[in-house]
């Protein structure tokens, strides 16, 4: 707490306000929001604020290959008033084909200049898939094939971030029959890159990744597919606001039916939430309103972040349920049930058995003693000892 307030006090809020057009309050809210998006501990928001405020902006080179520019669009069209301003202020966007004022050789020269100036320090953001068939001739920029350009830029980059499903794993261009042999950046480079899949991806996840890098000088923790765990660690299904309807078996049967209007689960309409990893239900999408993400608006998730789901499975096809696997709280076909032997019961039974055995032995002995009496009894009744 102390460190927190110290750092907070040391921030020059006036400078921030002047630079970003943000009030102190909004700026801190933004930093706290980022920290919680990434699941960082208390105090990290202050560190983020410090890092952002210090304006040590990393150089970013943004490459476009086979894509629709939807990733950039989603970033720019974010309705949140200052999101794009923040992004563009936090980073030094030294090369971006869509946003660049420069063109042609001038632009390529700027890229080379930035790469040379920030060797080993700049971030490389890749948008779009990379065609590999026929020596990559299907995508050329400034005379270079996409493969060559990517490799050239990646060589001296501090980190490579693949934004969108195309750059992450091929996306639309790689859909069967994949005429251009499209692949994701990670596949082409043969190295681990940060994948931020999604069609389009959530801009919050890009800014969180960048700010994480800025604050801690390292990339956030990644999963086996190179995706930041803070954003792709959970299934849509796990945080879905309609989950309770799923668990209760309340499914919308078709668009506009009673269940659909009641906001029931969209699983039967083909929702891919149960097999799609993304944080959409938690951070929402598109900044429209407080229910603004596909499922919130009544459309089933199409699994846009997952290879093998979006562009592969029909939108109406039923999803596999990944939450339950391996099913931890499912009963096994034969569970251990019932109460076995307890000490008290076993001891009681042993005591009874012992008493019975002892009694039997004693009786048998006493019977032996009474033999003469019994013999006598046949002829004449014996005398009662107790008489």
């Amino acid at each position: 707490m102390l460190a927190h307030s110290e750092e907070e006090c040391s921030l020059d809020f006036d400078a921030i306000e002047g630079r970003l057009g943000l009030s102190r309050r909004d700026f801190l809210k933004f930093c706290t929001g980022l920290a919680s998006t990434m699941g960082l501990p208390a105090g990290a928001d202050a560190a983020i604020a410090k890092a952002v405020e210090s304006a040590r902006r990393p150089s970013v080179i943004w490459l476009h290959f086979q894509e629709c520019t939807g990733c950039t669009e989603s970033l720019l069209r974010a309705n949140h008033p200052t999101l794009e301003r923040l992004i563009l202020d936090i980073i030094s966007l030294d090369y971006h084909e869509t946003l660049f004022a420069a063109a042609g050789h001038q632009a390529e020269a700027a890229r080379r200049q930035a790469m040379a100036d920030n060797k080993g320090k700049y971030l490389l953001v890749v948008e779009g898939a990379i065609p590999t068939k026929d020596k990559g001739i299907y995508c050329r920029i400034g005379g270079q094939t996409a493969v060559d350009l990517l490799k050239e830029c990646a060589t001296d980059a501090a980190a490579v971030v693949a934004i969108g499903s195309c750059a992450s794993w091929g996306g639309v261009p790689s859909t069967k029959p994949n005429p251009t042999g499209s692949e994701g950046a990670g596949e082409v480079l043969g190295a681990k890159v940060v994948n931020l899949p999604g069609c389009p991806p959530n801009p919050y996840n890009l800014i969180s990744t960048v700010v994480h890098y800025l604050t801690f000088n390292k990339l956030p923790e990644l999963d086996a597919k190179g995706r930041p765990k803070f954003a792709y660690g959970r299934l849509i299904h796990e945080n879905c606001e309609r989950r309770a309807h799923f668990d209760a078996g309340r499914f919308a049967g078709e668009f506009g039916d009673e269940g659909h209007r009641q906001g029931w689960c969209l699983y039967k309409l083909g929702c891919k939430g149960p097999e799609t990893h993304a944080n959409c239900p938690a951070v929402l999408f598109g900044d429209v309103s407080n229910a603004s993400w596909p499922v919130g608006t009544g459309h089933p998730c199409i699994g846009c972040t997952e290879k093998g789901i979006v562009f592969t499975k029909p939108i109406h096809a039923l999803a596999e349920l990944k939450t339950v696997t391996p099913p931890i709280f499912f009963a096994r076909p034969a569970e251990e049930r019932g109460t076995g032997v307890t000490f008290a019961a076993a001891a009681a039974l042993a005591a009874i058995a012992g008493a019975a055995a002892g009694g039997t032995a004693m009786l048998a002995r006493n019977l032996g003693k009474s033999v003469p009496e019994a013999k006598a009894d046949v002829a004449a009744p014996d005398e009662q000892r107790g008489g």
Binding site: F246, D247, A248, G249, R250, F251, G253, C265, Y267, K268, P274, P314, H316, A317, L318, A319, E320, L321, K322, V324, T325, P326, P327, I328, F329, F330, A331, R332, P333, A334, E335, R337
Partner: protein
């Protein structure tokens, strides 16, 4: 005490016992499926383990949630087995990794609820006719009002379906009755109604068997339409055919059942051990029928016994003073 009486007795008692041992002299007829029998088809390969059927079942049958001690499941309905509070359960076979469904080294789902046997042991063994089989729909239902709580059905059911609430002061048996109370409202089994993948569907057993034959005839991997809800509901979805094992659980088991299961994992891994084709209820009733048929043998035996008792009593009486028969009558003997 002549030899003829003794022989007669031997013949009488021996005959009764022999009648009980001669196999299939007058075995009861084999029960057949009612014409209008309805049931469920559970295709484990379509099941996603959402347990909507369990939730709907509890809601429709007014059953309380059941908690267990497994971590993370202490706060919601997470039964480990059928019980007096759970009459339908989805269980999971886990043989390996989570990314391989319906293989022995992966995982698979199975359902346990009443199979509504054609020749149900519970119906045969219930001493007070609390378990009854509907002659039209074939639904095996239970009457709490009639039940004495002897739990013979719990012990006798080869599927382990009827359960008992041991922890209640006024306990009762619980089992699936195929939502017969909903049929009056024109509805069908709740578990089938809510199933989003058509893993559980409801319908006439004849139609269910046709659907099973259709699925088994298709090559694994073939994309086909699967009905949801009930047969002929019109609500379908397309999915590939799984690699079914060559066994339809319930087709022949103990004389056939009205709930049928398909699976891609051998049934014995799903705690569905091999069962004979002959209904134990048939064996038991045939045996009892032979011994007690029309009460002829017992009454003949009784006649012989009374006759013998009278003769013996006379013999005893000769030593005593009167024709007393009881143990105490010859206190003055000798």
């Amino acid at each position: 005490m002549g030899m003829d009486r003794r022989n007669f007795l031997k013949a009488a008692s021996g005959g009764t016992l022999a009648a009980s041992c001669v196999p299939s002299v007058q075995a009861r007829e084999t029960r057949t499926m009612p014409e209008g029998a309805v049931g469920l088809l559970y295709d484990g390969t379509l099941c996603i383990g959402c347990r909507a059927c369990m939730a709907a079942c509890k809601a429709e049958n007014d059953l309380p949630p059941e908690f267990n001690e497994i971590e993370g499941s202490a706060y919601w309905d997470a039964p480990l087995d059928l019980s007096g509070r759970t009459i339908n359960i989805i269980k999971a076979y886990v043989g390996g990794d989570s990314d391989r469904k319906d293989t022995l080294d992966g995982y698979a789902f199975t359902k346990l609820s009443c199979f509504h046997c054609v020749d149900a042991s519970c119906v045969s063994c219930c001493p007070v006719a609390a378990m009854t089989k509907d002659p039209v729909t074939g639904i095996v239902s239970h009457s709490k009002e009639a039940c004495i709580g002897c739990r013979y059905c719990v012990a006798a059911c080869p599927f382990g379906v009827p359960r008992f609430t041991y922890d209640e002061t006024f306990p009762h048996i619980a089992k699936c009755q195929l939502c017969r109370h909903r049929m009056a409202q024109g509805k069908f089994a709740a578990c089938a109604e809510v199933c989003p993948t058509g893993a559980t569907i409801y319908g006439p057993v004849k139609e269910l068997k046709k659907e099973i034959a259709r699925r088994r005839a298709l090559a694994p991997g073939t994309e086909t339409e699967f009905p949801r809800g009930h047969i002929g509901s019109g609500d379908t979805h397309i999915a590939p055919i799984a690699n079914y094992v060559d066994h339809v659980w319930g087709e022949k088991e103990i004389g056939g059942t009205q709930v049928l299961h398909l699976s891609a994992v051998p049934f014995d891994r799903l705690d569905k051990k091999p069962l004979p084709d002959v209904a134990p209820a048939n064996v038991s009733e045939s045996l009892q029928g032979r011994i007690y048929h029309g009460m002829i043998a017992p009454l003949a035996f009784l006649g012989a016994l009374v006759f013998a008792a009278k003769r013996s009593a006379k013999a005893l009486g000769e030593q005593g003073e009167a024709g007393g028969t009881d143990a105490g009558d010859d206190r003055k003997g000798e």
